[in-house]
């Protein structure tokens, strides 16, 4: 592996942690309202909480915004699927919460692999998100007195999660969408649904625009701007089966990476502990059962390996509530990475639910006894119904079966404090960047980051970038655009010309198997090297064996998926390389070589307290890794313990 020596300046403002963002706001230049702003164009790719929030807010400020998404309408961005809730340090429950505590929980939850200043800002901005969302009419859950309700989520000991039944993401996204349609109507935001970004256009080292394909007609188009914001979400479908929507993809960030944007911590992926177990090779996705279920559900496996009795036939004395046993202080509410790995440990020992060797029980009998069926139904009814549709039995009577599933990607494009990538004028927000969650994300913190970036950070940092940079003179007729457009078109033609025998799904499935088995919940050097070799082979096979029908000038979802898969086939390898380089265990990255005798993750702060930032060096060439050292000035690095 080659280690590079680029100095990655995170541009963290000086002064005490608590004052950095305010100071930054004061020191940043502004663009005066009115005509000057209208003349500045910002491309925002993505309409999730991050992208939609940024586009609407930049529109409110008067900039000329071009906003893109793959779906037929911005309201369907994948943020819509988030169930459980959103964190904010409101301390409405008077249980000792504060910005400082949310900051600390997030740093600790991320296993000390995130940047202090970014995380602190996130905690500070969290409260404003709730205010803003309430003002927009987001129907959060309420108490009888009319005040907002809270619930608790894994990995913390306060109750700071706001929610709207089991549809928090949907309601927050509809809030964003309402702000967005208001700006579309006002003419500040121009919306391009069913448009997929295929590439980034960089001229003289500055991001100047994008190339996008209109999915219904196949038309490949150029869009020029003064700044480009990518908020295109995460890349969990690199595992093929994940809790993400089937169109989630890494194309936008990967193509930007190929144009020079460094990619950070690709191996930090979150395997969510509570999804419906895998059922067959026909499957297209895994269904998440919200983490909030662990508030009242108890996780267990039979004590005896290979016990195939139905759960209701297994007496208490033959059950092992392994999370309560191993982690008495947090019990069923340990963070995700810990809960997921513990399920793997048990199932590797042959202890599992009867359904498959990869399933464990999540039991509500105790909660129903304590609270009654009605209360449990109020809290989780919609999830129980969803589960029953899929599996066929009801969690009210029979314990649920769950297993970990790929869910969220902490890695993403490297950004500085201003969310600017290593290409000038390219900003990255939401799940697409790497910045806030370190090696593991706490529940209910992705929605928080999405909206913090979208409503508050992007509008400010992009504005100050635009105030400094002169208006772009590079228009869409520039040669730089033509070259990239031609490349995009050739790429699509090449995919259609392969004329092999294997379907996209078949190959994506194969990539997923390798990723899950060797770059999944537990990793080791041998497996990772095999994964790198297997992915390389599959990539070659892809360019010979891919079967596609239909044309380029029409709606062709097989072609869309093939285009996305070819990026996953490169990103998957980078994930394996990053995991191989990181000779420690931290958060969602667990290297079997690095664990305590009790099987807990063993971090190596002396050698690995840094962010990896990978540079693309050309097709088939080994990437080069640069490092951003992490400095901890406000928290003490500790072994994470939830015992």
């Amino acid at each position: 592996m080659t280690t590079g020596n680029r100095v990655l300046d995170a541009k963290i403002p000086g002064g005490p942690l608590a004052d950095k963002w305010d100071r930054h706001e004061m020191e940043n230049p502004l663009v005066a309202p009115g005509g000057n702003r209208r003349k500045l164009t910002v491309i925002v790719v993505g309409t999730g909480l991050a992208g939609g929030g940024a586009a609407a807010t930049l529109g409110e400020l008067g900039y000329n915004v071009l906003n893109f998404c793959i779906q037929d309408t911005p309201r369907r961005a994948h943020s819509v699927a988030a169930q459980g809730g959103i964190n904010a340090a409101k301390n409405y429950q008077n249980d000792g919460d504060s910005v400082q505590r949310l900051f600390y929980d997030t740093i600790k939850g991320g296993d000390y692999r995130s940047r202090e200043a970014n995380v602190y800002r996130l905690a500070q901005l969290s409260t404003g998100i709730i205010d803003q969302s309430v003002a927009m009419g987001v129907p959060f859950a309420r108490e009888y007195g009319g005040a907002l309700s809270n619930r608790s989520f894994g990995g913390v000991q306060v109750s700071r999660t706001f929610y709207a039944r089991g549809q928090t993401g949907q309601q927050l996204l509809l809030g964003v969408y309402s702000a967005l349609v208001r700006q579309i109507e006002a003419g500040t935001v121009k919306m391009f649904p069913r448009h997929e970004m295929l590439d980034l256009v960089v001229v003289d080292g500055r991001a100047r625009g994008i190339i996008a394909r209109e999915l219904t007609t196949g038309e490949i188009k150029r869009f020029a701007a003064d700044a480009v914001v990518l908020a295109t979400g995460g890349y969990s479908p690199v595992f093929y089966l994940s809790t993400n929507a089937v169109n989630c993809n890494a194309t936008a960030i990967w193509r930007a990476h190929r144009r020079g944007a460094l990619f950070s911590n690709p191996c930090y992926t979150q395997i969510h502990p509570t999804a419906v177990p895998q059922m067959g090779d026909y499957q297209s996705k895994l269904t998440l059962m919200s983490e909030s279920l662990r508030n009242d559900g108890r996780v267990w496996v039979p004590k005896k390996p290979g016990d195939k009795r139905r759960p209701n036939e297994i007496p208490e004395s033959d059950r092992d509530y392994y999370l309560e046993r191993r982690y008495p202080a947090f019990g069923n509410l340990v963070p995700r990475d810990i809960a997921a790995r513990a399920a793997k440990v048990e199932s590797d020992l042959g202890k599992s639910a009867y359904f498959s060797p990869q399933s464990v029980y999540l039991d509500f009998a105790e909660a129903i006894g304590r609270l009654g069926k009605g209360v449990v139904g109020d809290r989780y009814g919609n999830l129980f119904d969803m589960y029953r549709e899929i599996i066929g039995d009801s969690p009210y009577d029979t314990p649920m079966m769950i297993y970990p599933a790929p869910h969220y990607t902490m890695g993403g494009l490297w950004v500085d404090y201003n969310l600017q990538g290593t290409i000038e004028g390219l900003f990255v927000a939401g799940e697409a960047n790497f910045s806030d969650h370190g090696a593991n994300r706490l529940g209910a913190s992705a929605l928080m980051q999405g909206l913090a970036d979208g409503y508050f950070v992007v509008p400010r940092v992009v504005a100050s970038y635009l105030a400094n940079a002169k208006a772009s003179t590079v228009k869409a007729d520039h040669d730089g655009f033509k070259a990239v457009e031609d490349e995009s078109r050739t790429h699509i033609q090449r995919l259609l010309a392969i004329k092999g025998k294997r379907t996209v799904r078949d190959m994506h499935w194969e990539l997923g198997r390798t990723m899950w088995d060797k770059v999944g919940m537990a990793r080791n050097a041998g497996g990772l090297k095999e994964a790198i070799a297997e992915i390389g082979k599959l990539r070659e096979s892809f360019w010979h064996d891919l079967a596609l029908t239909g044309g380029a000038d029409d709606l062709n979802k097989q072609l869309e998926q093939a285009n996305r898969l070819c990026d996953y086939l490169e990103l998957g390898e980078l994930m394996a390389r990053d995991a191989l380089m990181r000779e420690e265990s931290c958060g969602g990255h667990f290297r079997e070589e690095h664990q305590t005798p009790e099987g807990e993750a063993l971090r190596d702060d002396a050698n690995f307290a840094f962010v990896s930032a990978w540079e693309y060096t050309g097709p088939g060439r080994e990437p080069v890794m640069h490092k951003e050292p992490l400095a901890f000035e406000n928290v003490e690095l500790k072994t994470r313990s939830y015992k």
């Binding site: 369907r76 003002a135 927009m136 309420r142 009319g146 119904d385």
Partner: protein, 266 residues
């Protein structure tokens, strides 16, 4: 659950609507798929069929889907005559093959309505919904101007009613099921969500007038209380919202768009 070890699989006959982009005419085409497991979703069965087609060199059937768990509203087809299939309260992507038995025939066609043009095969355009939302499906508040979240108290009942209406996923099944292709259920869900909440109060009159005017301009039909919309709605949005919408409309038409003094929460 039924025994998943019985992997025999069902054979299912399909009649699927195929229509080339921009072609005026489409038609049903027959297909047969076998080895279908009962835990499979209907869309997974279509995935398998599409793989077979591609291997044979034929064009795949285009259909929209994304979350595949009933929340994004992307999928939407008429399954054996019913928008989103015969089970109440679910979307097309939530249909499991458990509902069928070996040898069954299933007809699959797109949502049909004048304002939803067919793009290709089973995919339709629903931009008309966005254009209606643009006219007033929001509270006019800019980022930065919000008071503390708990400064606005909302009774639990009003919040619950608002939430019931807010769960609409914008799928369009209500339109597809309505003999008049009315969009009333969809539009009323947004109008009544915001009318239940104090935040929606100041603009309630203007919102009702503008959204309804746009609904008419898009060519959606009138509501004549058939109730088909409520029956197929995957989120079980109540037809009472339409009654509430009518009251909002009449009040606003009577007093003028901005004269309503009500602060919402009624």
């Amino acid at each position: 659950m039924s025994d998943s070890s019985a992997k025999s699989g069902m054979t299912i006959h399909l009649k699927i609507w195929r229509q080339a982009r921009s072609a005026a005419q489409g038609r049903f085409v027959d297909y047969t798929v076998s080895g279908i497991q009962q835990e499979m979703s209907l869309l997974e069965m279509l995935d398998i069929l599409n793989e077979d087609l591609v291997r044979k060199g034929e064009e795949a059937i285009e259909f929209d889907s994304d979350c595949r768990e009933g929340i994004c509203g992307t999928c939407g087809m008429v399954v054996s005559g019913v928008a989103h299939g015969k089970h109440a309260g679910t979307t097309t992507c939530e249909i499991r093959m458990r509902q069928y038995k070996d040898g069954d025939t299933i007809t699959i066609e797109p949502f049909r309505a004048g304002p939803f043009p067919i793009i290709k095969d089973l995919v339709v355009g629903r931009e008309a919904f966005d254009r209606i939302q643009r006219k007033g499906g929001f509270v006019s508040t800019n980022v930065g101007s919000a008071p503390d979240g708990n400064a606005i108290l909302v009774s639990k009942l009003a919040a619950d009613d608002a939430m019931d209406a807010a769960t609409c996923i914008g799928c369009g099944a209500c339109v597809a099921a309505c003999p008049n292709a009315s969009a009333s259920l969809f539009v009323s869900a947004k109008i009544s969500q915001l009318a239940w909440l104090p935040q929606g109060g100041p603009e309630r009159g203007r919102r009702a007038l503008a959204m309804i005017a746009q609904m008419d301009a898009e060519g959606f039909g009138d509501c004549s209380n058939h109730g088909e919309c409520e029956a197929v709605c995957p989120k079980q949005i109540s037809i009472q919202n339409i009654a509430k919408m009518r009251r909002e409309y009449v009040k606003a038409a009577w007093t003028g768009a901005d004269k309503s003094r009500s602060s919402g929460g009624d």
